[in-house]
Protein backbone atom coordinates (compact mmCIF):
# COMPACT_ATOMS: atom_id res chain seq x y z
CA UNK A 1 0.00 0.00 0.00
CA UNK A 2 1.25 3.47 -0.88
CA UNK A 3 0.23 6.65 0.93
CA UNK A 4 1.26 10.29 0.65
CA UNK A 5 3.23 11.43 3.66
CA UNK A 6 3.48 14.91 5.18
CA UNK A 7 6.34 14.93 7.72
CA UNK A 8 6.22 18.55 8.95
CA UNK A 9 8.92 20.92 10.17
CA UNK A 10 9.70 19.33 13.52
CA UNK A 11 10.02 15.78 12.20
CA UNK A 12 12.92 16.97 10.05
CA UNK A 13 14.67 18.68 12.96
CA UNK A 14 14.05 18.15 16.67
CA UNK A 15 11.84 15.08 16.24
CA UNK A 16 13.83 13.04 13.73
CA UNK A 17 13.21 9.90 15.78
CA UNK A 18 9.47 10.20 15.36
CA UNK A 19 9.94 10.31 11.58
CA UNK A 20 12.62 7.63 11.34
CA UNK A 21 10.66 5.07 13.36
CA UNK A 22 7.48 5.93 11.44
CA UNK A 23 9.24 5.02 8.19
CA UNK A 24 10.78 1.80 9.55
CA UNK A 25 7.50 0.61 11.04
CA UNK A 26 5.52 1.41 7.91
CA UNK A 27 8.03 -0.58 5.89
CA UNK A 28 7.70 -3.54 8.26
CA UNK A 29 3.91 -3.33 7.91
CA UNK A 30 3.96 -3.18 4.13
CA UNK A 31 3.11 0.51 3.79
CA UNK A 32 5.18 2.85 1.67
CA UNK A 33 5.19 6.44 2.97
CA UNK A 34 5.77 8.63 -0.08
CA UNK A 35 6.87 12.05 1.07
CA UNK A 36 5.06 14.73 -0.90
CA UNK A 37 7.16 17.00 -3.09
CA UNK A 38 8.07 20.45 -1.80
CA UNK A 39 5.83 20.31 1.25
CA UNK A 40 5.72 23.46 3.32
CA UNK A 41 5.14 23.93 7.04
CA UNK A 42 1.49 23.60 8.09
CA UNK A 43 1.90 26.46 10.57
CA UNK A 44 1.49 24.37 13.71
CA UNK A 45 -2.00 25.52 14.68
CA UNK A 46 -5.15 25.92 12.63
CA UNK A 47 -6.46 29.45 12.40
CA UNK A 48 -10.21 29.19 12.97
CA UNK A 49 -11.07 32.54 11.35
CA UNK A 50 -12.94 32.01 8.10
CA UNK A 51 -11.30 35.01 6.48
CA UNK A 52 -7.74 33.79 7.10
CA UNK A 53 -6.78 32.31 3.77
CA UNK A 54 -3.08 32.68 2.96
CA UNK A 55 -1.80 30.69 5.92
CA UNK A 56 -3.88 27.68 4.91
CA UNK A 57 -2.51 27.43 1.38
CA UNK A 58 0.44 25.22 2.28
CA UNK A 59 -1.97 22.65 3.69
CA UNK A 60 -4.20 22.86 0.64
CA UNK A 61 -1.19 22.29 -1.61
CA UNK A 62 -0.26 19.16 0.35
CA UNK A 63 -3.85 17.90 0.21
CA UNK A 64 -4.03 18.60 -3.49
CA UNK A 65 -0.77 16.80 -4.16
CA UNK A 66 -2.07 13.67 -2.41
CA UNK A 67 -5.26 13.94 -4.44
CA UNK A 68 -3.28 14.08 -7.69
CA UNK A 69 -1.69 10.76 -6.72
CA UNK A 70 -5.04 9.38 -5.57
CA UNK A 71 -3.56 8.55 -2.20
CA UNK A 72 -4.64 9.26 1.36
CA UNK A 73 -2.54 11.90 3.13
CA UNK A 74 -0.85 10.62 6.29
CA UNK A 75 1.05 12.55 8.96
CA UNK A 76 2.50 11.55 12.31
CA UNK A 77 2.67 14.85 14.16
CA UNK A 78 -0.62 15.59 15.94
CA UNK A 79 -0.38 19.28 15.04
CA UNK A 80 0.21 18.71 11.32
CA UNK A 81 -2.64 16.24 11.21
CA UNK A 82 -4.94 18.67 12.99
CA UNK A 83 -4.15 21.54 10.62
CA UNK A 84 -4.39 19.40 7.48
CA UNK A 85 -7.66 17.83 8.53
CA UNK A 86 -9.29 21.09 9.62
CA UNK A 87 -8.16 22.81 6.42
CA UNK A 88 -9.55 19.94 4.36
CA UNK A 89 -12.83 20.14 6.24
CA UNK A 90 -13.07 23.88 5.59
CA UNK A 91 -12.50 23.21 1.88
CA UNK A 92 -15.36 20.70 1.93
CA UNK A 93 -17.87 22.67 3.94
CA UNK A 94 -17.21 26.41 3.54
CA UNK A 95 -17.72 27.28 -0.11
CA UNK A 96 -16.89 30.98 0.30
CA UNK A 97 -13.56 30.05 1.90
CA UNK A 98 -12.88 27.36 -0.68
CA UNK A 99 -13.45 29.67 -3.61
CA UNK A 100 -11.05 32.26 -2.15
CA UNK A 101 -8.43 29.55 -1.66
CA UNK A 102 -8.82 28.34 -5.22
CA UNK A 103 -8.44 31.88 -6.51
CA UNK A 104 -5.16 32.21 -4.62
CA UNK A 105 -3.94 28.86 -5.88
CA UNK A 106 -4.65 29.84 -9.49
CA UNK A 107 -4.30 26.30 -10.75
CA UNK A 108 -6.18 24.63 -13.55
CA UNK A 109 -8.29 22.43 -11.34
CA UNK A 110 -9.89 23.54 -8.10
CA UNK A 111 -9.43 21.54 -4.94
CA UNK A 112 -12.64 20.26 -3.40
CA UNK A 113 -11.53 18.76 -0.09
CA UNK A 114 -11.85 15.17 -1.23
CA UNK A 115 -8.48 13.84 -0.04
CA UNK A 116 -8.71 11.37 2.83
CA UNK A 117 -6.63 12.62 5.74
CA UNK A 118 -5.26 10.09 8.22
CA UNK A 119 -3.17 10.37 11.31
CA UNK A 120 -0.57 7.57 11.39
CA UNK A 121 -2.50 6.00 14.28
CA UNK A 122 -5.64 5.95 12.15
CA UNK A 123 -3.63 4.45 9.31
CA UNK A 124 -2.55 1.67 11.68
CA UNK A 125 -6.11 1.08 12.84
CA UNK A 126 -8.08 1.57 9.62
CA UNK A 127 -5.71 0.73 6.77
CA UNK A 128 -3.34 -1.81 8.35
CA UNK A 129 -5.45 -3.13 11.24
CA UNK A 130 -4.41 -3.70 14.86
CA UNK A 131 -4.91 -7.45 14.45
CA UNK A 132 -2.44 -7.50 11.56
CA UNK A 133 0.01 -5.51 13.69
CA UNK A 134 -0.40 -7.93 16.57
CA UNK A 135 0.60 -10.77 14.27
CA UNK A 136 3.77 -8.95 13.29
CA UNK A 137 4.89 -8.24 16.84
CA UNK A 138 8.12 -10.15 17.48
CA UNK A 139 9.03 -8.49 20.74
CA UNK A 140 5.85 -8.10 22.83
CA UNK A 141 6.16 -5.30 25.37
CA UNK A 142 5.09 -7.57 28.22
CA UNK A 143 4.76 -6.09 31.67
CA UNK A 144 5.00 -2.48 30.54
CA UNK A 145 2.33 -0.16 31.90
CA UNK A 146 1.92 2.56 29.34
CA UNK A 147 -0.11 5.75 29.61
CA UNK A 148 -1.24 7.12 26.26
CA UNK A 149 -1.25 10.89 26.10
CA UNK A 150 -3.65 12.20 23.47
CA UNK A 151 -3.43 15.88 24.34
CA UNK A 152 -5.75 18.17 22.39
CA UNK A 153 -4.99 18.05 18.73
CA UNK A 154 -5.59 14.40 17.89
CA UNK A 155 -9.14 14.47 19.17
CA UNK A 156 -10.48 18.00 18.95
CA UNK A 157 -12.56 19.47 17.48
CA UNK A 158 -14.31 16.13 17.29
CA UNK A 159 -16.84 17.28 14.70
CA UNK A 160 -13.91 17.55 12.30
CA UNK A 161 -11.25 15.15 13.59
CA UNK A 162 -13.60 12.16 13.97
CA UNK A 163 -10.76 9.98 15.23
CA UNK A 164 -12.36 8.55 18.32
CA UNK A 165 -14.63 9.40 21.24
CA UNK A 166 -13.01 12.70 22.33
CA UNK A 167 -13.72 12.15 26.03
CA UNK A 168 -13.09 8.42 26.20
CA UNK A 169 -10.75 7.54 23.34
CA UNK A 170 -9.30 4.07 22.87
CA UNK A 171 -7.26 4.05 19.65
CA UNK A 172 -3.93 4.51 21.48
CA UNK A 173 -4.86 1.97 24.16
CA UNK A 174 -5.85 -0.57 21.49
CA UNK A 175 -2.45 -0.13 19.86
CA UNK A 176 -0.69 -0.54 23.21
CA UNK A 177 -2.63 -3.79 23.76
CA UNK A 178 -1.75 -5.02 20.26
CA UNK A 179 1.93 -4.50 21.15
CA UNK A 180 1.54 -6.72 24.22
CA UNK A 181 1.70 -3.99 26.87
CA UNK A 182 -0.90 -2.85 29.37
CA UNK A 183 -2.55 0.53 28.77
CA UNK A 184 -3.05 2.81 31.76
CA UNK A 185 -6.23 4.89 31.64
CA UNK A 186 -5.90 8.18 33.55
CA UNK A 187 -8.05 11.26 33.80
CA UNK A 188 -5.81 13.82 32.13
CA UNK A 189 -4.90 11.96 28.97
CA UNK A 190 -6.85 14.41 26.80
CA UNK A 191 -6.00 17.67 28.60
CA UNK A 192 -3.60 20.29 27.26
CA UNK A 193 0.15 20.23 28.07
CA UNK A 194 0.48 24.01 27.72
CA UNK A 195 1.29 23.94 24.01
CA UNK A 196 3.12 26.85 22.40
CA UNK A 197 2.42 29.15 25.35
CA UNK A 198 5.50 27.42 26.81
CA UNK A 199 7.55 29.96 24.83
CA UNK A 200 6.10 33.00 26.55
CA UNK A 201 5.09 31.53 29.84
CA UNK A 202 7.10 28.44 30.76
CA UNK A 203 5.80 28.48 34.36
CA UNK A 204 2.28 28.03 33.08
CA UNK A 205 3.26 25.13 30.78
CA UNK A 206 5.09 23.61 33.71
CA UNK A 207 1.94 23.61 35.84
CA UNK A 208 -0.13 22.01 33.08
CA UNK A 209 2.45 19.34 32.23
CA UNK A 210 3.23 18.44 35.83
CA UNK A 211 -0.46 17.79 36.52
CA UNK A 212 -0.57 15.39 33.56
CA UNK A 213 2.57 13.43 34.37
CA UNK A 214 1.62 13.23 38.08
CA UNK A 215 -1.79 11.95 37.12
CA UNK A 216 -0.31 9.27 34.83
CA UNK A 217 2.18 8.21 37.53
CA UNK A 218 -0.52 8.05 40.18
CA UNK A 219 -2.35 5.49 38.04
CA UNK A 220 0.80 3.36 37.97
CA UNK A 221 2.19 4.14 34.52
CA UNK A 222 5.88 3.36 33.75
CA UNK A 223 5.94 5.60 30.73
CA UNK A 224 3.89 7.98 28.62
CA UNK A 225 3.54 7.70 24.85
CA UNK A 226 2.65 10.60 22.60
CA UNK A 227 2.50 11.49 18.91
CA UNK A 228 3.28 15.18 19.33
CA UNK A 229 6.79 16.72 19.60
CA UNK A 230 5.53 19.72 21.54
CA UNK A 231 3.66 17.55 24.04
CA UNK A 232 6.81 15.47 24.47
CA UNK A 233 8.89 18.58 25.05
CA UNK A 234 6.48 20.04 27.61
CA UNK A 235 5.95 16.79 29.48
CA UNK A 236 9.67 15.98 29.62
CA UNK A 237 10.83 19.43 30.54
CA UNK A 238 8.14 20.27 33.02
CA UNK A 239 6.70 17.00 34.23
CA UNK A 240 7.91 14.59 36.85
CA UNK A 241 10.63 12.20 35.69
CA UNK A 242 8.39 9.63 33.97
CA UNK A 243 9.83 8.75 30.53
CA UNK A 244 7.93 10.16 27.55
CA UNK A 245 8.41 8.32 24.25
CA UNK A 246 7.04 8.58 20.76
CA UNK A 247 4.53 5.88 19.90
CA UNK A 248 6.48 5.07 16.74
CA UNK A 249 9.54 4.16 18.84
CA UNK A 250 7.45 1.74 20.88
CA UNK A 251 5.98 0.26 17.74
CA UNK A 252 9.47 -0.17 16.26
CA UNK A 253 10.60 -1.96 19.40
CA UNK A 254 7.65 -4.37 19.30
CA UNK A 255 8.05 -5.01 15.57
CA UNK A 256 11.75 -5.72 16.09
CA UNK A 257 12.98 -2.94 13.81
CA UNK A 258 14.26 -0.49 16.41
CA UNK A 259 17.96 -1.32 16.18
CA UNK A 260 17.62 -1.52 12.47
CA UNK A 261 16.23 2.01 12.44
CA UNK A 262 18.95 3.35 14.71
CA UNK A 263 21.70 1.96 12.47
CA UNK A 264 20.10 3.25 9.28
Amino acid sequence: MKVSYFPGCTLKTKAKDLDMYAHKCAEALGVSLEEIDNWQCCGGVFNTARNEVANKLSSVRALKFAKSKEQPLVSVCSACHNVLKQTNHAMQTDSAFASKVNLYMAEETNYDGSTEVYHYLEMLRDLVGFDAIKEKVVNPLKGKRIAAYYGCLLLRPNSVMQMDDPENPQIFEDLIRALGAEPVIYAMRNECCGGYVTMENPEFASKKSKAITDNASSFGADMIVTACPLCKYNLEKNGNSIPVVYFTELLAEALGVKEDAQNA
Binding site: K14, A15, C41, C152, L153, R156, C192, F204, P229
Partner: protein, 130 residues
Protein backbone atom coordinates in the same frame (compact mmCIF):
# COMPACT_ATOMS: atom_id res chain seq x y z
CA UNK B 1 -21.20 52.37 28.51
CA UNK B 2 -18.80 51.34 25.84
CA UNK B 3 -18.67 53.13 22.53
CA UNK B 4 -20.45 51.97 19.42
CA UNK B 5 -18.56 48.98 18.08
CA UNK B 6 -21.25 47.65 15.78
CA UNK B 7 -19.01 47.28 12.77
CA UNK B 8 -16.17 45.63 14.65
CA UNK B 9 -18.59 43.31 16.41
CA UNK B 10 -20.12 42.27 13.12
CA UNK B 11 -16.69 41.63 11.65
CA UNK B 12 -15.69 39.47 14.62
CA UNK B 13 -18.91 37.49 14.43
CA UNK B 14 -18.54 37.01 10.68
CA UNK B 15 -14.87 35.95 10.82
CA UNK B 16 -15.46 33.55 13.70
CA UNK B 17 -18.71 32.08 12.42
CA UNK B 18 -19.93 32.12 16.05
CA UNK B 19 -23.44 33.02 17.12
CA UNK B 20 -23.08 34.27 20.71
CA UNK B 21 -26.86 34.34 21.13
CA UNK B 22 -26.86 30.54 21.32
CA UNK B 23 -25.05 30.72 24.67
CA UNK B 24 -27.10 29.61 27.68
CA UNK B 25 -24.50 30.92 30.13
CA UNK B 26 -23.68 27.63 31.81
CA UNK B 27 -19.98 28.51 32.12
CA UNK B 28 -18.70 25.11 31.00
CA UNK B 29 -16.26 26.71 28.52
CA UNK B 30 -14.49 28.57 31.29
CA UNK B 31 -14.68 25.61 33.66
CA UNK B 32 -12.83 23.43 31.16
CA UNK B 33 -10.33 26.06 29.95
CA UNK B 34 -6.75 25.04 30.86
CA UNK B 35 -5.68 28.70 30.79
CA UNK B 36 -8.50 29.94 33.05
CA UNK B 37 -6.21 30.98 35.91
CA UNK B 38 -4.05 33.07 33.59
CA UNK B 39 -6.92 34.93 31.98
CA UNK B 40 -8.37 38.27 32.88
CA UNK B 41 -11.41 37.65 30.66
CA UNK B 42 -12.49 34.04 30.45
CA UNK B 43 -14.08 32.21 27.51
CA UNK B 44 -17.67 32.77 28.71
CA UNK B 45 -16.92 36.47 29.09
CA UNK B 46 -15.69 36.63 25.49
CA UNK B 47 -19.08 35.30 24.44
CA UNK B 48 -21.23 37.82 26.28
CA UNK B 49 -18.88 40.76 25.78
CA UNK B 50 -18.78 40.22 22.02
CA UNK B 51 -22.55 39.82 22.01
CA UNK B 52 -22.96 43.19 23.70
CA UNK B 53 -20.27 44.88 21.59
CA UNK B 54 -17.93 45.37 24.55
CA UNK B 55 -14.85 44.57 22.47
CA UNK B 56 -12.19 47.02 23.57
CA UNK B 57 -11.40 45.51 26.96
CA UNK B 58 -10.94 42.17 25.21
CA UNK B 59 -8.64 43.72 22.61
CA UNK B 60 -6.43 45.11 25.34
CA UNK B 61 -6.35 41.94 27.40
CA UNK B 62 -3.49 39.47 27.69
CA UNK B 63 -6.16 36.76 27.68
CA UNK B 64 -5.93 36.88 23.89
CA UNK B 65 -2.45 35.39 24.05
CA UNK B 66 -3.18 32.74 26.64
CA UNK B 67 -5.68 30.73 24.59
CA UNK B 68 -3.91 27.45 23.80
CA UNK B 69 -6.06 26.49 20.82
CA UNK B 70 -6.77 23.23 22.61
CA UNK B 71 -10.41 23.26 21.40
CA UNK B 72 -11.67 22.12 24.83
CA UNK B 73 -14.25 24.93 25.07
CA UNK B 74 -15.28 24.26 21.48
CA UNK B 75 -15.90 20.55 22.02
CA UNK B 76 -17.41 20.74 25.49
CA UNK B 77 -19.94 23.54 24.92
CA UNK B 78 -23.40 21.96 25.16
CA UNK B 79 -24.76 24.60 22.77
CA UNK B 80 -22.02 24.50 20.12
CA UNK B 81 -21.09 28.15 20.65
CA UNK B 82 -17.33 27.63 20.14
CA UNK B 83 -15.87 30.44 22.28
CA UNK B 84 -12.24 29.91 21.16
CA UNK B 85 -13.25 31.07 17.68
CA UNK B 86 -14.25 34.42 19.20
CA UNK B 87 -10.92 34.66 21.01
CA UNK B 88 -9.19 34.03 17.68
CA UNK B 89 -11.26 36.64 15.84
CA UNK B 90 -10.70 39.30 18.51
CA UNK B 91 -6.97 38.55 18.54
CA UNK B 92 -6.86 38.92 14.76
CA UNK B 93 -8.64 42.25 14.96
CA UNK B 94 -5.71 43.40 17.12
CA UNK B 95 -2.69 41.88 15.38
CA UNK B 96 -3.91 42.76 11.91
CA UNK B 97 -3.29 46.39 12.80
CA UNK B 98 0.07 47.80 11.87
CA UNK B 99 2.64 47.51 14.64
CA UNK B 100 0.40 45.38 16.84
CA UNK B 101 2.15 42.05 16.57
CA UNK B 102 2.38 40.34 19.91
CA UNK B 103 5.68 38.66 19.04
CA UNK B 104 8.36 39.55 16.52
CA UNK B 105 11.29 37.59 15.12
CA UNK B 106 13.61 39.63 17.36
CA UNK B 107 11.80 38.33 20.43
CA UNK B 108 12.45 34.70 19.54
CA UNK B 109 16.14 34.13 20.43
CA UNK B 110 15.56 35.07 24.07
CA UNK B 111 12.69 32.60 24.30
CA UNK B 112 14.52 29.59 22.88
CA UNK B 113 15.65 26.66 24.91
CA UNK B 114 17.86 23.91 23.60
CA UNK B 115 15.19 21.31 22.89
CA UNK B 116 12.29 23.58 22.03
CA UNK B 117 10.65 22.06 18.94
CA UNK B 118 10.18 24.24 15.84
CA UNK B 119 6.51 23.48 16.16
CA UNK B 120 6.29 25.75 19.22
CA UNK B 121 7.84 28.67 17.36
CA UNK B 122 5.70 28.40 14.24
CA UNK B 123 2.57 27.96 16.35
CA UNK B 124 3.31 31.01 18.47
CA UNK B 125 4.00 33.02 15.33
CA UNK B 126 0.77 31.99 13.73
CA UNK B 127 -1.15 33.04 16.80
CA UNK B 128 0.73 36.18 17.76
CA UNK B 129 1.94 37.72 14.52
CA UNK B 130 0.58 38.88 11.18
Amino acid sequence: MHKDNTKLTEEIIRASGVNPKKCMKCGKCSATCPAYDEMEYHPHQFVYMVESGDIEPLMNSKSLYMCLSCFACIDRCPRGVEPAKLVEAVRLSVIRQQGKNHMTADDVPAKLSEDLPQQAIVSAFRKYTK
